[in-house]
């Protein structure tokens, strides 16, 4: 039993000197030693690491396993990143290009703005336009509410969208007035094409067309709309309509005394001076006016008094 334990330790390279003494005294130990020495001379196959790895790499199964793993670990997140960049780029481009610029003139004064191609728009009080700054040279399109005077630089078709119709030009000066359902286009230079009520009308310089609610043709005699110079101008308009304009502008009350208010008036009045305005309207018609302290004005015919 003692020898067996010693032998077991010896086989595990853990024999103590005492164990060796026991073993060496044991006659059969020589046989065991002989088996041991002889066994240790066994010829082992040498495993070549380099060629072994290479042989593994050449196995179809090996490459298959590798290919299956690669896309999972590396390529998928990369694809997602690229996709995300494209989505962001596309999204922001759409956002920027569709974002319109909105401009509204102050209630009390006119405002002139210059477009990217040096076209000019003069907005009348409280008029509002919106247009797309991005890609302007390729898409000259303005949406208008109110009244504005356009001086368009030469280039692609310039379009003004209004609720009552569209006005297109190539390069010209024109005035567009919209108010409720009214659309009045006056051409000062070049040629203006108006598409309203399903009809296409060409407006030549010196013409002023009222398209809605009904088609009316008027002549203009100024080089620019009169409101640009702080004036109101009239061509063959009944006197009472002119007087109503003065009331509106100066916030005064006008009364008439033994006057024919159906008299036709052609001319203009200034917006800056009430006395001057009254004079320019009354003098050509041989009328007079009197003013009291309460902003009440009376217009009369001096001959009939």
């Amino acid at each position: 039993m003692e020898t067996k334990q010693a032998l077991e330790k010896w086989l595990n390279n853990e024999a103590t000197p005492a164990d060796m003494q026991v073993l060496n005294a044991w006659p059969e130990f020589d046989s065991y030693k002989k088996i041991d020495t002889h066994t240790k001379r066994m010829v082992l196959p040498e495993h070549d690491i380099t060629s072994g790895i290479k042989a593994l790499r050449d196995t179809p199964l090996f490459n298959k396993a590798q290919k299956q793993k690669r896309p999972k670990i590396v390529t998928m997140p990369m694809l997602l990143k690229i996709a995300a960049i494209f989505v962001l780029l596309a999204g922001s481009t759409v956002f920027v290009t569709t974002l319109p610029t909105n401009i509204q003139a102050p209630i009390t004064s006119i405002q002139t703005i210059e477009l990217p191609d040096s076209s000019k728009i003069t907005l009348k009080e409280n008029a509002r336009i919106s247009y797309k700054k991005y890609g302007w040279p390729f898409n000259r399109e303005v949406t208008l509410e109110g009244e504005a005077y356009f001086e368009v630089a030469k280039g692609k078709t310039f379009t003004v969208r209004t609720p009552s119709g569209n006005v297109s030009v190539l390069g010209t000066s024109f005035n567009v007035k919209t108010e409720n359902d009214i659309l009045i286009v006056s051409c000062f230079e070049g040629l203006v094409s108006v598409n309203a009520n399903g009809m296409n009308t060409l407006v030549t310089p010196g013409d002023s067309f009222s398209f809605a609610p009904m088609l009316v043709n008027n002549k203009i005699y100024t080089s620019k709309p009169s409101w640009i110079f702080n004036e109101s101008s009239f061509v063959d308009i009944p006197l009472d309509a002119v007087l109503m304009e003065i009331e509106k502008h100066y916030k005064v009350t006008l009364t008439t005394k033994n006057i024919d208010v159906t008299l036709r008036y052609t001319g203009s009045f200034t917006h800056t001076n009430l006395d001057q305005a009254l004079q320019t309207v009354t003098l050509p018609l041989n009328l007079s006016f009197s003013k009291d302290s309460k902003n009440e004005v009376q217009i009369y015919d001096p001959k009939k008094q």
Binding site: E8, N13, I35, H38, K40, M42, V43
Partner: protein
């Protein structure tokens, strides 16, 4: 963020191969007694490791390889009859290289060969792992997933059986 070392990376896999291929080859050789068969089994075991690289940590790689190789061996059908080879013992003294001595050596080698054949596959492999590879009982126990004591007994039993067989030849 640092990536955890994974055998799926080529470098890590090659490192495992370098460290384990030879000892795995010996293990398979003790079982099969066949140079070519043992080579195939080793390569197959590493292929399995590569295919399952995501599930096996570098620490577990060794035991995975030995278990896999052992299973692969059990799946193979019995091979052609092959025998171990031993080198000639080199002795310092001239006397020991005498014809008598060489003859005796050769005879003993043949006897040992037969004795090894008479051992069960488990006994033989355990014994050779211990003697040729110089593995401790603890390491053998780990390979077979048995206790250290059982491993020691397996080696000792093999040695005693070898001696008995050789004496009776």
């Amino acid at each position: 963020m640092e990536k955890q070392t994974n055998i799926c990376q080529e470098q890590a896999f090659n490192k495992v191969y370098k460290a384990q291929a030879q000892s795995l080859r010996n293990f398979m050789f003790f079982k099969t007694k066949d140079t070519d068969a043992s080579y195939d089994l080793v390569q197959e075991a590493f292929l399995k490791l590569w295919q399952n690289c995501a599930k096996v940590t570098p620490e577990k790689a060794k035991s995975y390889l030995f278990t896999t190789a052992n299973n692969l061996f059990l799946n193979t059908v019995a091979h052609k009859k092959v025998q171990f080879k031993f080198t000639q013992g080199v002795k310092k003294s001239q006397d020991n290289n005498s014809p008598e001595f060489l003859l005796e050596e050769k005879e003993f080698g043949q006897k040992l060969q037969k004795a090894l054949d008479s051992l069960t596959q488990l006994q033989r492999t355990a014994f050779l792992l211990s003697r040729v590879e110089g593995k401790k009982y603890r390491e053998i126990a780990a390979i077979y997933n048995i206790s250290e004591k059982a491993a020691g007994k397996r080696v000792l039993d093999a040695l005693e059986k070898l001696r008995e067989t050789i004496d009776n030849l």
